[in-house]
């Protein structure tokens, strides 16, 4: 099954399970979605529950909030995560704060889906990752599926969650295929997972760079470096325990981010480690990310800007020789 098919199945299963689940976004209905994640939904669930919207992100993201607090369980698709800023007020000042400002009068069960990440040649305005823009906003949950089973399980959990959840799907992973159990299950929000156990160094990563970190780990295994790879799965709330447990064992930490360095989510991981895990740290904590760059269109530049297996392995080697 592919990551894309897992997303589709999660949506279908959720809509079959709960008639209050509705889906809307630009061309998600009749056309089946720009990333082809929603084919057949309009046909199965009809035009009342599956709707195409005008190009009006502020309106339909705000509408998701209004629908959520009045009895529906909306899923709004923003297409590219780069469009989140277009609807940012509704996300930052409304959706995230509505429950708080009202003193707990509202429950806000909504899901916003968006495709993020570089690697598809869409250029500077269509290739960004959005989690680091949203992590300073209490009130939101943010999930970043990095495997096929997680795409299904995190999306199902997001839709059933009684708080706003931003689901960031990595567009380069849509065609990524894996064998999955016949019975796909929900994946809990707020739990990271050790994708590869190792004793020498802990690598914390997500999505595409998590997959690349696993490749790097295999290469380094030949060189006698035993890498533990943690997939965060959820950016908010962070699962500190899984990281600290690993750190207590490996005493070394590298964070691999698909994001510019300044203000990237890696800062939170490192500051948590430098507080609660400081006495375990035997070496500098490193971050492998986009540095000060933006995503450029030119293929060699785009292929270079996101941490690749070569850069990740080299960073781990360098750290081991510290």
């Amino acid at each position: 099954m592919t990551y894309r098919e897992a997303a589709t199945k999660a949506l279908v299963d959720a809509m079959r399970a709960d008639e209050n689940v509705v889906l809307f976004g630009e061309d998600v209905g009749i056309a089946g979605g720009v990333f082809k994640v929603t084919p057949g939904l309009y046909e199965e669930f009809g035009g009342s529950r599956v709707r195409d919207t005008p190009i009006s992100e502020q309106a339909f993201i705000g509408a998701a909030l209004g629908a959520a607090i009045t009895g529906l369980r909306p899923i709004a698709e923003l297409m590219f995560a780069d469009f989140i800023p277009v609807a940012m007020d509704q996300i930052v000042n409304q959706i995230a704060k509505y429950r708080y400002m009202s003193g707990g009068q509202f429950v806000v069960p909504l899901t916003i889906r968006a495709a993020q990440g570089a690697g598809a040649g869409f250029g500077t305005q269509h290739s960004q990752c959005a989690e680091s823009w949203l992590m300073n906003i209490p009130g939101l949950r943010i999930v970043v599926p990095g495997t096929v089973a997680d795409m299904y399980g995190l999306l199902r959990s997001a839709i059933e969650e009684n708080n706003p959840v931003i689901v960031l799907e990595h567009k380069v992973l849509y065609n990524f295929a894996e064998d999955v159990p016949d019975q796909l299950t929900h994946v809990p929000i707020g739990k990271a997972i050790v994708r590869r156990a190792g004793k020498d160094v802990t690598v914390v990563a997500t999505q595409l760079v998590m997959q690349r970190s696993l490749e790097a780990a295999e290469i380094l295994a030949q060189e006698g470096i035993d890498v533990e790879v943690i997939d965060l799965r959820t950016m908010a709330p962070l699962d500190e325990g899984t990281i600290l447990t690993s750190l207590a064992k490996t005493h070394r930490l590298i964070v691999v981010e698909e994001a510019p360095h300044a203000g990237g989510w890696g800062g939170d991981i490192v500051s948590m480690a430098a507080d609660k895990g400081i006495y375990w740290l035997d070496a500098p904590v490193k971050r492998v990310n986009m540095g000060g760059a933006l995503v450029a269109y030119s293929p060699p530049l785009e292929d270079e800007v996101v941490p690749n297996v070569k850069r990740i392995s080299q960073a781990i080697r360098d750290l081991m020789s510290e």
């Binding site: 509705v22 009342s48 529950r49 709707r51 919207t53 005008p54 009006s56 992100e57 502020q58 309106a59 339909f60 993201i61 705000g62 509408a63 998701a64 909030l65 209004g66 629908a67 959520a68 607090i69 009045t70 009895g71 529906l72 909306p74 007020d89 509704q90 000042n93 409304q94 509505y98 429950r99 708080y100 400002m101 009202s102 003193g103 707990g104 009068q105 509202f106 429950v107 806000v108 209490p138 009130g139 949950r141 009684n162 708080n163």
Partner: protein, 328 residues
Amino acid sequence: MAEVTQVMPLAMETRQHVLKQMMEIRAAEERIQGLFLENLIRGTTHLCIGQEACSAGVAAILEPGDTVTCTYRGHGHAIAMGMSLKAMIAEMMGKASGACKGKGGSMHMTDASLGLLGANAIVGAQLPIAVGAALTAQVKKTRSIAVTFFGEGASNIGAFHEALNLAAVWKLPVLFICENNRYGEYSPMHTTTPVANIADRAASYGMPGIIVDGQDVETVYHEVRAAADRARNGEGPVLIELKTYRFRGHSRTDQAPYRPEGELEEWLKRDPIVILKARMIADGQIDETEYEELRGAIERNIHDVVEWAKAEPFPALETLYQDIYYEG
């Protein structure tokens, strides 16, 4: 006193109800400004004195299940929808017994149990939220409507445009109610808005746009009710412009130096309370003595509420970390 203009009269009970509400709103706002000056309300207040007919007239046509989103200038809407004065005053004083446990304050009067889905401090943000409430009504096939209040200044922000367009495309039961009080903060409408009437903008969405005398609560009632019936019947949204005026400044201690000479005085002649009162006196439904008694009772009640609220406790500090997420 205003001459007696006449429109289709409301039933006496309804007139008594909306008159009392407008008087309550007026008296509460006066007292709220006092509390702000006494530093018992922190930050800011935005009074709707002069616009009471908009709140009372619209609220009077609402049915159970209908919802409202409005703005920081939302005390009138809250009172008209039946929010308890205690919950409202306590909220503005930041007390634990406030409508929002003290977390919201003057700009965020909210009572989900009444369908009051929140007053918003971001201009225009409440419009898309109302569109979503109307979506629920349409999907669940209730006959409920969603009402959203905003000012003429808000009609220049993107969220206004997108919300009206989306509501029109989906034929949702939304009433977009613009309280055109002539000013956005300190800017007269003509300096920011190149149209004479906000209602004219309805044409961009293939939606009816109507202009209503916002000082006449009976006219407001009739026009809004007609639009509401239309929306309940699945005929889609309507943009309603209530021509009104705020008798006070924008907020806090604004003395409104930007008003042209004599403008306020002209509008004071069209005080919504005076207009209705005059008709009721003409129709023998109230006399000056009864009116004064009613006002006295309202003021005594507000006084008691304020004294009660003063004595109420502030929320415990740990509540800062509560109500961010729904647990479970």
